[in-house]
């Protein structure tokens, strides 16, 4: 189960409203490389990870990503909350206002709503971890684009911090995947080195490896 702690993982206090930035930032909330997709992807994939390490890592990173969803929500909320209707129209958020007023709604920066297809799960740990590594790198790249788009230190601070978390997660996923690959290769090499394996069995050996 999950238990709420009444604090952000890293502090956010944005003093200056900035609707354009809110409009860009929303993509890390509800876009294809965003935190909501990441949290749900990992918490979904954790169930079919082949060993304890994999289950633990996907569980713990997925849980952290929920905390990042909250950080993005906080940033968007604080950037928008004091805006006038005029400012909302000017920033092109009038279409958002029409449907959601100042409430949060997970979309990408172009207003495309969040979809569960963002967390493609295959049940194959190598494929899933490759997806996760790519997701972390894409999120890192998007955080860098977002940092380039602002000069407000109250916004840059948390974005730099979130970007750094992508790098740590990428490296942990990579470490786990390489361990799985190594086990996979070992299984294959050990069996094939016993020689005299009939050619027609090789496909079976290749596909029936165990982690």
């Amino acid at each position: 189960m999950f238990k709420y702690v009444k604090t952000l993982q890293y502090p956010i206090n944005i003093q200056k409203k900035d609707l354009r930035m809110a409009k860009y930032l929303v993509t890390q909330y509800g876009g294809s490389n965003g935190e909501l997709g990441a949290a749900l992807r990992y918490l979904n994939q954790r169930l079919t990870m082949p060993d304890d390490k994999g289950k633990a890592l996907l569980n713990d990173i997925g849980t952290e990503e929920l905390g990042h969803v909250e950080m993005l929500e906080t940033m968007i909320y604080q950037l928008m909350k004091d805006a006038t209707l005029e400012e909302i129209k000017e920033a092109g958020l009038d279409t958002h206002y029409a449907e959601h007023a100042k409430a949060l709604f997970p979309t990408d920066a172009n207003g495309v709503p969040f979809t569960v297809s963002y967390f493609a799960t295959t049940g194959d740990p190598i494929a899933d971890l490759s997806e996760d590594m790519a997701a972390e790198q894409k999120a890192r790249a998007v955080y860098e684009n977002l940092i380039d788009l602002t000069d407000d230190p109250d916004v840059i601070g948390p974005l730099l911090w979130l970007r750094q978390r992508e790098i740590v997660h990428y490296n942990r996923f990579k470490e786990l995947m390489e361990e799985y690959e190594k086990k996979q290769n070992k299984g294959w090499n050990n069996r094939s080195s016993k020689s005299s394996i009939p050619m027609n069995n090789r496909t079976e050996i290749r596909t029936n490896f165990i982690y």
Binding site: L8, Q9, Y10, N13, E73, T74, I167, R172, E178
Partner: protein
């Protein structure tokens, strides 16, 4: 910008089939202090990667409550980053010891914070001031701690 240059170089060496390709990670692993790690978003010096010439924001707590919260957040962050490492290296005794040490300190900081400023989890509600969970500030509010 080559972020991968900051990743541990072993991962780019040839000869991956060789067992010695995976040295115990602590060999070249230096940790930041909880405060340094918390400000960077990364406890592991060998994984830290700077973007352009941006420096991590320095958090300068102004009030006693902010100070107490930052200490707790920093320690909680350090434990979490150790947690992710230990998920893959549960046998690393020195890291387990460090985690235990942080765990003891964290318990103390939580107790002190909650007795002064109110509950952090609903079960941390002391009930002396009634059900204060509902009226202590929410973290998304501006000027929250």
């Amino acid at each position: 910008m080559n972020n991968y240059l900051n990743y541990p170089y072993e991962w780019y060496r040839e000869g991956r089939e060789n067992d010695s390709f995976f040295p115990p990670m602590q060999e070249n692993m230096n940790l930041y202090t909880p405060k340094q790690g918390f400000e960077r978003g990364n406890l592991f010096q060998n994984l830290y990667s700077q973007y352009k010439n941006y420096q991590p924001q320095s958090l300068n707590p102004k009030t006693e409550q902010e100070k107490a919260m930052r200490n707790l957040q920093a320690l909680t962050f350090a434990m979490h980053d150790l947690n992710l490492y230990l998920d893959l290296h549960p046998e690393d005794q020195s890291m387990v010891m460090l985690f235990k040490d942080y765990q003891n300190q964290q318990e103390k900081l939580i107790r002190e914070y909650e007795s002064q400023y109110g509950p952090l989890t609903v079960s941390g509600n002391s009930m002396e001031n009634g059900f204060s969970w509902v009226n202590t500030p929410w973290p998304w509010e501006v000027d929250n701690v």
